[in-house]
């Protein structure tokens, strides 16, 4: 499997833009049915079966999260957070020809504005992307927040 970096970068920018522009359903569709959306707590290299995470969603949990954000009763998002995500330092890792997957890492700077406050999150993100259905989809998104061991301000938006 030959993969060029610009193609992956375009995909990551799109993933970020869908979240920034609150196109949550389109974002959701980027994920495979067996996808995991994971934000570890404490440090980056925890075992999520032994250690608490900030977010550890399967696709059903992601759907519930989005449904809540769309419900009109998610008060922590009234008014909605405005979020900018900057994606950089994209590096391609190992590919698996059989599974049609590639490991990707990138840096993300997330800036959220809500309740007259700006909150910054820096994160090293890890993706497992899959190309089995003719286009790229996310099998695993892991967001390693720089602050994952610290107290966090309210984080009712998708990271």
């Amino acid at each position: 499997m030959r993969v060029e970096r610009p193609e992956i970068e375009d995909f990551l920018y799109r993933e970020a833009r869908l979240l920034d522009t609150r196109k949550f359903e389109e974002w959701f569709d980027l994920f495979t049915d067996d996808a995991i959306y994971w934000v570890p707590a404490g440090r980056d290299d925890i075992d999520p079966a032994r250690h608490v995470s900030i977010i550890h969603d399967d696709k059903m949990a992601m759907a519930t999260r989005i449904k809540r954000l769309r419900s009109g009763f998610a008060y922590a998002q009234d008014p909605q957070s405005r979020v900018h995500r900057l994606i950089s330092n994209v590096e391609l890792g190992a590919t698996d020809n059989e599974k049609q997957t590639i490991e990707v890492t990138c840096m993300m700077l997330l800036i959220e504005l809500a309740r007259h406050r700006q909150t910054f999150h820096s994160a090293r993100c890890e993706f497992t992307l899959e190309h089995s259905t003719g286009s790229w989809r996310v099998r695993r998104k892991k967001v390693n927040l720089l602050k994952n061991g610290e107290v966090l301000e309210n984080t009712p938006y998708l990271i």
Binding site: V39, A41, G42, H51, V52, I55, T64, Y75, V151, E153
Partner: protein
């Protein structure tokens, strides 16, 4: 200027300064956190000899250590020489704590065991009097470790009162009668008073409203039916769906009970929340997730995943709680309205099992906690408030 302390809590209302006045907060640090039993941590966090965790009692940084004889000690994390904290890790294992500034070294029982170039101090220099200050009283109930900065006052069991029965029922959800903790913590902060979390931890009235986007239809039904009760229990708060336990193993919203143990512990479902007041308008919440012994791994993992999904910094329930705490702090800046209304259920609460008990959506438990607050805030100060 706030009205006199004894006038801030009436039988059905609370004065806004209780949440908004920095002077009240300073008094709380003195009269509540320096006098009451404060939750330090769970025995499981410091299982082995030499294990320690750091935490806080009010403004005191604390090291909680497991000593060689298996006992637990709690030390003020502050070098006796010039004052830096001597341990800056959350958890660890060590026989010694050494302040790097001038290398004063203490064992984990707090004794000062080493001072470089001691000949520089005169004959009156007494190492034995310069150990890390101790939290005067440390005691444990069902693995929950508490410390008290005062020598005086009731022993822990008496302070917990009727809550001990609920803690018994809580650990009994584990087939072995002992709970464990998952590794790590969820840590959140909000710009609001610490007591919002205590009220909210036992407040079924808000669930169907504030959590309309997160609560399941089945759980909503249970809240609407209003089965169960709220209890003002020896200054602590209980909401009980089960009519005195035992709590079901799955501990979903449809069963179990919530406990708020004044002033800083919330126990509900699979979580142990520690409340850390930082300032009148700033609070941190640290949450441990409870693991049951001898149950299938899937049960424990499900409990942790539910906990993360609903109650972490990104939790579908907790984010709305934090949001409302911040909105409350903002609203209470106004002195145009001085009082908050806490009268719900006042006319229908009854004594049951020796405790004032209200309907599921009542505020009996809140009134009980604030009477306790008032007792502590107005009690004459004991002779010794701290070991320091």
């Amino acid at each position: 200027m706030h009205p006199p302390i004894e006038k801030l809590i009436t039988k059905d209302a609370i004065h806004r300064s209780v949440y908004a006045d920095p002077e009240i907060f300073d008094l709380e640090m003195e009269r509540i956190f320096n006098k009451a039993w404060v939750y330090l941590g769970h025995s499981e966090e410091i299982r082995e000899e030499g294990d320690y965790k750091t935490t806080y009692v009010g403004r005191h940084p604390i090291i909680v250590s497991r000593l060689a004889d298996g006992s637990v000690t709690a030390l003020i994390n502050r070098c006796r020489h010039r004052g830096p904290i001597v341990c800056q890790h959350e958890l660890g294992n060590s026989k010694y704590f050494r302040c790097p500034y001038h290398s004063w070294t203490y064992n984990n029982a707090g004794d000062l065991i080493g001072v470089p170039m001691p000949q520089g101090y005169g004959r009156s220099f007494d190492k034995s009097a310069l150990g890390l200050a101790k939290v005067p009283r440390v005691a444990e109930y069902q693995g929950f470790i508490f410390g008290c900065m005062s020598e005086e006052g009731p022993p822990l069991k008496e302070y917990l009162g009727g809550i001990t029965k609920f803690l018994d029922a809580y650990v009994a959800t584990s087939p072995t009668g002992k709970i464990e903790l998952f590794e790590g913590m969820q840590k959140c902060a909000y710009n609001g008073n610490w007591k919002y979390q205590l009220e909210n931890g036992v407040d079924p009235y808000h669930v169907g409203s504030l959590h309309a986007s997160a609560v399941t239809p089945e759980a909503m039904q249970i809240y609407r039916q209003g089965t169960g009760c709220v209890i003002a229990m020896d200054g602590h708060g209980v909401t009980d769906h089960t009519d005195w336990g035992p709590m079901p193993v799955d501990a979903g919203l449809s069963g179990g009970f919530n406990l708020v143990i004044f002033p800083n512990l919330v126990v509900l479902r699979s979580q142990i929340r520690t409340v850390r007041p930082i300032a009148v308008n700033r609070t941190e919440i640290y949450t441990n997730v409870v693991k049951l012994q001898n149950v299938p791994d899937e049960v424990n993992i499900r409990r942790m995943r539910d906990q993360e999904f609903q109650f972490g910094a990104a939790g579908t329930f907790f984010t709305d709680d934090i949001e409302i705490f911040e909105r409350t702090q903002e609203g209470l800046q106004s002195g145009a309205v001085e009082w908050l209304v806490f009268s719900r259920g006042l006319d229908r609460e009854v004594m049951k099992n020796g405790y004032m008990t209200g309907n599921m959506s009542d505020e009996t438990q809140h009134r009980g906690m604030y009477q306790h607050w008032k007792r502590l805030m107005t009690a004459p100060l004991p002779m010794s408030t701290a070991a320091e």
